[in-house]
Protein backbone atom coordinates (compact mmCIF):
# COMPACT_ATOMS: atom_id res chain seq x y z
CA UNK A 1 0.00 0.00 0.00
CA UNK A 2 1.26 3.40 -0.95
CA UNK A 3 -0.33 6.79 -1.18
CA UNK A 4 -1.29 8.45 -4.42
CA UNK A 5 -3.71 10.91 -5.97
CA UNK A 6 -7.22 9.54 -6.44
CA UNK A 7 -9.20 12.65 -7.31
CA UNK A 8 -8.70 16.25 -8.37
CA UNK A 9 -10.96 19.26 -8.73
CA UNK A 10 -10.63 22.97 -9.36
CA UNK A 11 -12.32 26.23 -8.62
CA UNK A 12 -11.44 29.19 -10.75
CA UNK A 13 -13.97 31.81 -9.99
CA UNK A 14 -13.51 35.47 -10.60
CA UNK A 15 -13.30 37.55 -13.72
CA UNK A 16 -11.08 36.94 -16.69
CA UNK A 17 -8.52 39.70 -17.16
CA UNK A 18 -6.97 39.94 -20.60
CA UNK A 19 -3.75 41.71 -21.54
CA UNK A 20 -5.59 44.80 -22.73
CA UNK A 21 -6.22 45.56 -19.07
CA UNK A 22 -2.55 46.46 -18.66
CA UNK A 23 -2.33 49.08 -21.38
CA UNK A 24 -3.01 51.59 -18.63
CA UNK A 25 0.41 50.81 -17.16
CA UNK A 26 2.12 50.81 -20.53
CA UNK A 27 2.16 47.10 -21.31
CA UNK A 28 1.04 45.66 -24.61
CA UNK A 29 -0.44 42.27 -25.36
CA UNK A 30 2.58 41.48 -27.53
CA UNK A 31 5.05 42.38 -24.79
CA UNK A 32 3.22 40.39 -22.10
CA UNK A 33 2.92 37.32 -24.32
CA UNK A 34 6.56 37.46 -25.29
CA UNK A 35 7.75 38.08 -21.77
CA UNK A 36 5.49 35.59 -19.98
CA UNK A 37 3.41 33.54 -22.41
CA UNK A 38 0.28 34.78 -20.64
CA UNK A 39 -2.83 35.92 -22.55
CA UNK A 40 -5.49 35.90 -19.83
CA UNK A 41 -5.74 35.24 -16.12
CA UNK A 42 -8.44 35.22 -13.45
CA UNK A 43 -8.75 37.69 -10.59
CA UNK A 44 -11.06 37.04 -7.69
CA UNK A 45 -13.24 39.79 -6.28
CA UNK A 46 -11.38 41.41 -3.40
CA UNK A 47 -14.08 40.52 -0.92
CA UNK A 48 -14.40 36.79 -1.67
CA UNK A 49 -13.13 34.72 1.28
CA UNK A 50 -10.48 32.21 0.28
CA UNK A 51 -12.19 29.58 2.43
CA UNK A 52 -15.21 29.74 0.14
CA UNK A 53 -13.04 29.35 -2.94
CA UNK A 54 -11.19 26.41 -1.42
CA UNK A 55 -14.49 24.81 -0.44
CA UNK A 56 -15.68 25.13 -4.02
CA UNK A 57 -12.74 22.97 -5.14
CA UNK A 58 -12.95 20.49 -2.27
CA UNK A 59 -16.73 19.98 -2.28
CA UNK A 60 -17.02 17.91 -5.47
CA UNK A 61 -14.22 15.65 -4.28
CA UNK A 62 -15.96 15.06 -0.97
CA UNK A 63 -19.25 14.44 -2.75
CA UNK A 64 -17.73 11.93 -5.14
CA UNK A 65 -15.95 10.18 -2.30
CA UNK A 66 -19.20 9.71 -0.43
CA UNK A 67 -17.64 9.07 2.98
CA UNK A 68 -16.20 12.38 4.19
CA UNK A 69 -15.64 10.91 7.63
CA UNK A 70 -12.74 8.92 6.20
CA UNK A 71 -10.88 12.11 5.28
CA UNK A 72 -8.49 12.40 8.17
CA UNK A 73 -6.63 15.54 7.19
CA UNK A 74 -7.09 18.72 5.19
CA UNK A 75 -4.09 20.84 4.27
CA UNK A 76 -4.89 24.26 2.83
CA UNK A 77 -1.91 25.73 1.05
CA UNK A 78 -1.79 29.45 0.43
CA UNK A 79 0.81 32.17 0.29
CA UNK A 80 -1.70 34.94 -0.38
CA UNK A 81 -4.05 34.33 2.53
CA UNK A 82 -4.13 37.32 4.86
CA UNK A 83 -6.02 35.32 7.47
CA UNK A 84 -3.80 34.14 10.31
CA UNK A 85 -6.20 33.64 13.22
CA UNK A 86 -8.16 31.52 12.70
CA UNK A 87 -6.62 29.65 9.81
CA UNK A 88 -8.46 28.96 6.59
CA UNK A 89 -8.44 25.16 6.74
CA UNK A 90 -10.90 24.82 9.63
CA UNK A 91 -13.51 26.91 7.81
CA UNK A 92 -13.03 24.90 4.63
CA UNK A 93 -13.53 21.67 6.61
CA UNK A 94 -16.77 23.02 7.99
CA UNK A 95 -18.01 24.24 4.61
CA UNK A 96 -17.48 20.85 2.94
CA UNK A 97 -18.77 18.79 5.86
CA UNK A 98 -15.57 17.28 7.21
CA UNK A 99 -14.83 16.44 10.78
CA UNK A 100 -14.90 16.87 13.59
CA UNK A 101 -12.07 14.32 13.82
CA UNK A 102 -9.97 15.86 11.08
CA UNK A 103 -6.46 17.29 11.22
CA UNK A 104 -6.62 20.70 9.55
CA UNK A 105 -3.93 23.26 9.03
CA UNK A 106 -2.72 26.01 6.74
CA UNK A 107 0.63 25.84 4.99
CA UNK A 108 2.70 28.50 3.26
CA UNK A 109 5.78 27.70 1.23
CA UNK A 110 5.17 30.30 -1.50
CA UNK A 111 5.21 28.80 -4.97
CA UNK A 112 6.53 25.48 -3.62
CA UNK A 113 3.51 25.14 -1.36
CA UNK A 114 1.63 22.51 -3.32
CA UNK A 115 4.65 20.24 -3.69
CA UNK A 116 5.40 20.55 0.02
CA UNK A 117 1.74 20.07 0.94
CA UNK A 118 1.57 17.03 -1.28
CA UNK A 119 4.65 15.52 0.34
CA UNK A 120 3.16 16.21 3.77
CA UNK A 121 -0.19 14.66 2.85
CA UNK A 122 1.36 11.62 1.24
CA UNK A 123 3.54 11.12 4.30
CA UNK A 124 0.48 11.29 6.56
CA UNK A 125 -1.22 8.62 4.47
CA UNK A 126 1.79 6.35 4.30
CA UNK A 127 2.41 6.66 8.04
CA UNK A 128 -1.15 5.69 8.82
CA UNK A 129 -2.01 9.05 10.27
CA UNK A 130 -4.96 9.49 7.94
CA UNK A 131 -6.81 7.19 5.55
CA UNK A 132 -7.44 10.01 3.13
CA UNK A 133 -5.98 13.51 2.91
CA UNK A 134 -7.21 16.55 1.02
CA UNK A 135 -4.57 19.00 -0.17
CA UNK A 136 -5.98 22.26 -1.49
CA UNK A 137 -4.03 25.21 -2.89
CA UNK A 138 -5.95 28.46 -2.98
CA UNK A 139 -4.42 31.75 -4.06
CA UNK A 140 -5.49 35.32 -4.64
CA UNK A 141 -2.19 36.75 -5.80
CA UNK A 142 -4.02 39.69 -7.36
CA UNK A 143 -4.47 40.96 -3.81
CA UNK A 144 -0.73 40.83 -3.14
CA UNK A 145 0.67 42.48 -6.24
CA UNK A 146 0.97 46.16 -6.85
CA UNK A 147 -1.44 46.40 -9.79
CA UNK A 148 0.57 49.28 -11.22
CA UNK A 149 3.84 47.33 -11.18
CA UNK A 150 4.78 46.57 -14.78
CA UNK A 151 6.94 43.61 -13.79
CA UNK A 152 4.47 41.61 -11.72
CA UNK A 153 0.91 42.88 -12.22
CA UNK A 154 0.38 40.95 -15.44
CA UNK A 155 2.06 37.76 -14.21
CA UNK A 156 0.27 36.84 -11.01
CA UNK A 157 -3.27 35.54 -10.85
CA UNK A 158 -5.84 33.76 -8.73
CA UNK A 159 -6.93 30.14 -8.70
CA UNK A 160 -7.60 27.07 -6.65
CA UNK A 161 -7.34 23.31 -7.00
CA UNK A 162 -7.46 20.32 -4.68
CA UNK A 163 -6.39 16.69 -4.76
CA UNK A 164 -7.46 13.73 -2.67
CA UNK A 165 -4.78 11.32 -1.50
CA UNK A 166 -5.33 7.72 -0.46
CA UNK A 167 -3.36 4.56 0.13
CA UNK A 168 -3.98 1.98 -2.55
CA UNK A 169 -2.45 -1.39 -3.25
CA UNK A 170 -1.72 -0.54 -6.88
CA UNK A 171 0.28 2.57 -6.08
CA UNK A 172 4.07 2.61 -6.02
CA UNK A 173 5.61 4.70 -3.28
CA UNK A 174 6.08 8.40 -3.86
CA UNK A 175 9.51 10.01 -4.04
CA UNK A 176 10.42 13.56 -3.28
CA UNK A 177 13.30 15.99 -3.25
CA UNK A 178 13.40 19.39 -1.60
CA UNK A 179 15.80 22.14 -0.75
CA UNK A 180 16.11 25.71 0.38
CA UNK A 181 18.63 28.53 0.52
CA UNK A 182 17.72 31.36 2.85
CA UNK A 183 20.63 33.44 1.59
CA UNK A 184 18.56 34.04 -1.55
CA UNK A 185 15.60 35.54 0.32
CA UNK A 186 15.94 38.87 -1.48
CA UNK A 187 15.22 37.35 -4.91
CA UNK A 188 11.48 37.30 -4.30
CA UNK A 189 9.83 39.02 -1.40
CA UNK A 190 6.80 40.98 -0.37
CA UNK A 191 7.65 44.66 -0.13
CA UNK A 192 6.81 46.90 2.80
CA UNK A 193 4.87 49.18 0.48
CA UNK A 194 2.76 46.31 -0.79
CA UNK A 195 3.56 44.32 -3.87
CA UNK A 196 6.11 41.70 -4.78
CA UNK A 197 9.73 42.33 -5.63
CA UNK A 198 11.23 39.96 -8.18
CA UNK A 199 14.85 39.83 -9.29
CA UNK A 200 13.74 38.70 -12.73
CA UNK A 201 16.98 37.51 -14.27
CA UNK A 202 18.21 35.64 -11.20
CA UNK A 203 14.82 34.08 -10.56
CA UNK A 204 14.55 32.99 -14.17
CA UNK A 205 17.99 31.39 -14.11
CA UNK A 206 17.61 29.71 -10.74
CA UNK A 207 14.03 28.54 -11.32
CA UNK A 208 14.96 26.81 -14.54
CA UNK A 209 17.96 25.10 -13.00
CA UNK A 210 16.27 24.07 -9.74
CA UNK A 211 13.18 22.67 -11.40
CA UNK A 212 15.24 20.83 -14.01
CA UNK A 213 17.48 19.38 -11.29
CA UNK A 214 14.45 18.32 -9.26
CA UNK A 215 12.95 16.61 -12.31
CA UNK A 216 16.19 14.81 -13.01
CA UNK A 217 16.30 13.60 -9.40
CA UNK A 218 12.81 12.16 -9.66
CA UNK A 219 13.80 10.23 -12.77
CA UNK A 220 17.01 8.99 -11.18
CA UNK A 221 15.32 7.79 -7.99
CA UNK A 222 12.40 5.44 -8.32
CA UNK A 223 9.86 4.79 -11.06
CA UNK A 224 9.91 7.46 -13.74
CA UNK A 225 7.02 9.89 -13.94
CA UNK A 226 4.83 9.69 -17.02
CA UNK A 227 4.24 13.42 -17.07
CA UNK A 228 6.09 16.47 -15.71
CA UNK A 229 4.22 19.49 -14.39
CA UNK A 230 6.38 22.42 -13.40
CA UNK A 231 5.28 25.40 -11.37
CA UNK A 232 3.62 27.61 -13.97
CA UNK A 233 5.66 30.66 -13.03
CA UNK A 234 6.23 32.16 -16.45
CA UNK A 235 6.06 30.69 -19.92
CA UNK A 236 9.70 31.49 -20.57
CA UNK A 237 10.75 29.66 -17.40
CA UNK A 238 8.62 26.68 -18.37
CA UNK A 239 10.16 26.51 -21.82
CA UNK A 240 13.58 26.78 -20.21
CA UNK A 241 12.82 23.80 -17.99
CA UNK A 242 11.45 21.95 -21.00
CA UNK A 243 14.79 22.55 -22.74
CA UNK A 244 16.66 20.94 -19.85
CA UNK A 245 14.25 17.98 -19.50
CA UNK A 246 13.45 17.02 -23.09
CA UNK A 247 15.83 14.08 -22.80
CA UNK A 248 13.60 12.59 -20.09
CA UNK A 249 11.10 11.76 -22.80
CA UNK A 250 7.81 12.54 -21.07
CA UNK A 251 5.26 15.30 -21.71
CA UNK A 252 6.07 18.61 -20.02
CA UNK A 253 3.02 20.71 -19.24
CA UNK A 254 2.81 24.41 -20.05
CA UNK A 255 -0.70 25.75 -19.49
CA UNK A 256 0.18 29.26 -18.39
CA UNK A 257 -1.41 31.03 -21.37
CA UNK A 258 -4.85 31.25 -19.81
CA UNK A 259 -4.02 30.90 -16.12
CA UNK A 260 -1.10 33.13 -15.23
CA UNK A 261 1.03 32.47 -12.17
CA UNK A 262 -1.27 31.39 -9.35
CA UNK A 263 1.65 30.61 -7.03
CA UNK A 264 1.07 27.32 -5.18
CA UNK A 265 -2.08 26.56 -7.16
CA UNK A 266 -0.41 26.36 -10.57
CA UNK A 267 0.60 22.71 -10.44
CA UNK A 268 -2.75 21.17 -9.45
CA UNK A 269 -4.54 23.57 -11.83
CA UNK A 270 -2.29 22.58 -14.72
CA UNK A 271 -2.56 18.88 -13.85
CA UNK A 272 -6.35 19.11 -13.67
CA UNK A 273 -6.44 21.10 -16.88
CA UNK A 274 -4.50 18.44 -18.75
CA UNK A 275 -6.81 15.72 -17.44
CA UNK A 276 -9.84 17.75 -18.35
CA UNK A 277 -8.53 18.33 -21.87
CA UNK A 278 -7.91 14.63 -22.31
CA UNK A 279 -4.20 15.29 -22.75
CA UNK A 280 -3.32 12.89 -19.94
CA UNK A 281 -4.61 9.40 -19.23
CA UNK A 282 -6.65 8.93 -16.08
CA UNK A 283 -3.78 7.05 -14.46
CA UNK A 284 -0.06 7.50 -14.48
CA UNK A 285 2.73 8.95 -12.40
CA UNK A 286 2.88 12.69 -11.90
CA UNK A 287 6.22 14.43 -11.55
CA UNK A 288 5.62 17.86 -10.02
CA UNK A 289 8.49 20.31 -9.63
CA UNK A 290 8.45 23.78 -8.15
CA UNK A 291 10.64 26.74 -7.28
CA UNK A 292 9.70 29.77 -5.26
CA UNK A 293 10.45 32.44 -2.74
CA UNK A 294 12.68 31.58 0.17
CA UNK A 295 14.27 30.40 -1.93
CA UNK A 296 12.72 26.95 -1.81
CA UNK A 297 12.46 24.23 -4.39
CA UNK A 298 11.43 20.64 -4.69
CA UNK A 299 9.69 17.91 -6.57
CA UNK A 300 7.54 14.88 -5.98
CA UNK A 301 6.76 11.83 -8.08
CA UNK A 302 3.43 10.27 -7.19
CA UNK A 303 1.10 7.75 -8.78
CA UNK A 304 -2.37 8.91 -9.68
CA UNK A 305 -5.56 7.20 -10.72
CA UNK A 306 -8.54 9.43 -11.14
CA UNK A 307 -11.71 7.96 -12.64
CA UNK A 308 -12.08 9.49 -16.09
CA UNK A 309 -15.62 10.51 -15.30
CA UNK A 310 -14.43 12.56 -12.35
CA UNK A 311 -11.70 14.45 -14.11
CA UNK A 312 -12.72 18.09 -13.59
Amino acid sequence: MSAGIVDVATAKPGRTVDNEHFTSIGLTDEWIRRRSGIATRSWLPDETPLAEVAAEACAPIVTRMGTPSSIGALIVVSTSSRQRIPGVAQKVAQLVGLGPSVLTFDMNAACCGFVYGLVTGLSLCDAGGARSVLVCSVEAMSRMVDRTDRQTACIFADGCAAVLLEDRAEFTGFRHVAGCDGSQESLMRETDAGGIHLDGMQVYDRAVRRMAESAQYLFDHGPAPTVLVGHQANGRILEGVRGFTTHLGVPFVNRIEHSGNTSSATIPLAFAGELDAGSLPAEGRLGAVAYGAGEAWGGVAVDYRVPAATAP
Binding site: R34, R35, G200, M201, Q202, Y204, D205, V208, R236, G240
Partner: protein, 82 residues
Protein backbone atom coordinates in the same frame (compact mmCIF):
# COMPACT_ATOMS: atom_id res chain seq x y z
CA UNK B 1 38.66 32.52 -34.85
CA UNK B 2 39.26 29.56 -32.53
CA UNK B 3 36.93 26.58 -32.26
CA UNK B 4 35.57 27.91 -28.97
CA UNK B 5 35.02 31.37 -30.41
CA UNK B 6 33.24 29.82 -33.36
CA UNK B 7 30.89 27.82 -31.15
CA UNK B 8 30.15 30.90 -29.07
CA UNK B 9 29.44 32.95 -32.20
CA UNK B 10 27.15 30.24 -33.56
CA UNK B 11 25.24 30.09 -30.27
CA UNK B 12 24.87 33.87 -30.10
CA UNK B 13 23.78 34.11 -33.73
CA UNK B 14 21.18 31.40 -33.21
CA UNK B 15 19.82 33.39 -30.29
CA UNK B 16 19.69 36.59 -32.32
CA UNK B 17 17.91 34.84 -35.18
CA UNK B 18 15.20 33.60 -32.84
CA UNK B 19 14.15 37.23 -32.66
CA UNK B 20 15.09 38.36 -36.15
CA UNK B 21 15.99 35.72 -38.75
CA UNK B 22 17.52 38.39 -40.99
CA UNK B 23 20.40 39.11 -38.61
CA UNK B 24 23.88 37.95 -39.51
CA UNK B 25 27.41 37.68 -38.08
CA UNK B 26 28.01 41.42 -38.43
CA UNK B 27 25.23 42.06 -35.92
CA UNK B 28 27.18 40.28 -33.18
CA UNK B 29 29.22 43.45 -32.68
CA UNK B 30 26.22 45.73 -32.10
CA UNK B 31 25.30 46.93 -28.61
CA UNK B 32 22.81 44.65 -26.91
CA UNK B 33 20.55 47.61 -26.36
CA UNK B 34 20.21 47.97 -30.15
CA UNK B 35 19.12 44.36 -30.59
CA UNK B 36 15.67 42.92 -30.01
CA UNK B 37 16.80 41.02 -26.93
CA UNK B 38 15.15 41.29 -23.53
CA UNK B 39 16.72 40.49 -20.18
CA UNK B 40 15.39 36.92 -20.23
CA UNK B 41 16.97 36.39 -23.64
CA UNK B 42 20.31 37.24 -22.04
CA UNK B 43 19.74 34.64 -19.31
CA UNK B 44 18.85 32.10 -21.98
CA UNK B 45 21.99 33.00 -23.91
CA UNK B 46 24.05 32.62 -20.74
CA UNK B 47 22.56 29.16 -20.10
CA UNK B 48 23.00 28.09 -23.72
CA UNK B 49 26.66 29.09 -23.70
CA UNK B 50 27.18 27.21 -20.44
CA UNK B 51 25.67 24.09 -21.97
CA UNK B 52 27.54 24.47 -25.24
CA UNK B 53 30.90 24.86 -23.51
CA UNK B 54 30.18 22.74 -20.40
CA UNK B 55 31.22 25.53 -18.05
CA UNK B 56 29.53 27.40 -15.21
CA UNK B 57 29.37 31.17 -15.50
CA UNK B 58 28.20 33.87 -13.13
CA UNK B 59 24.97 35.48 -14.28
CA UNK B 60 25.62 38.46 -12.03
CA UNK B 61 28.59 39.29 -14.27
CA UNK B 62 27.06 38.60 -17.66
CA UNK B 63 23.80 40.39 -16.81
CA UNK B 64 25.67 43.68 -17.01
CA UNK B 65 27.27 43.16 -20.40
CA UNK B 66 26.59 45.86 -22.97
CA UNK B 67 27.85 43.97 -26.02
CA UNK B 68 27.58 40.37 -27.19
CA UNK B 69 31.33 40.51 -27.67
CA UNK B 70 31.55 40.71 -23.88
CA UNK B 71 29.86 37.31 -23.68
CA UNK B 72 32.38 35.93 -26.11
CA UNK B 73 35.37 37.26 -24.18
CA UNK B 74 33.93 36.04 -20.87
CA UNK B 75 33.10 32.52 -22.03
CA UNK B 76 36.34 32.08 -23.96
CA UNK B 77 38.17 32.75 -20.68
CA UNK B 78 35.95 30.32 -18.79
CA UNK B 79 36.31 27.60 -21.40
CA UNK B 80 40.06 28.13 -21.49
CA UNK B 81 40.30 27.76 -17.73
CA UNK B 82 41.63 31.27 -17.24
Amino acid sequence: MSDIEGRIADTMLAKLRQRDPSLGPDDLTRPIADLDLDSLDLVELHQQLERELQVKGDLRETAGFAFLDDFSTYFVKLASGE
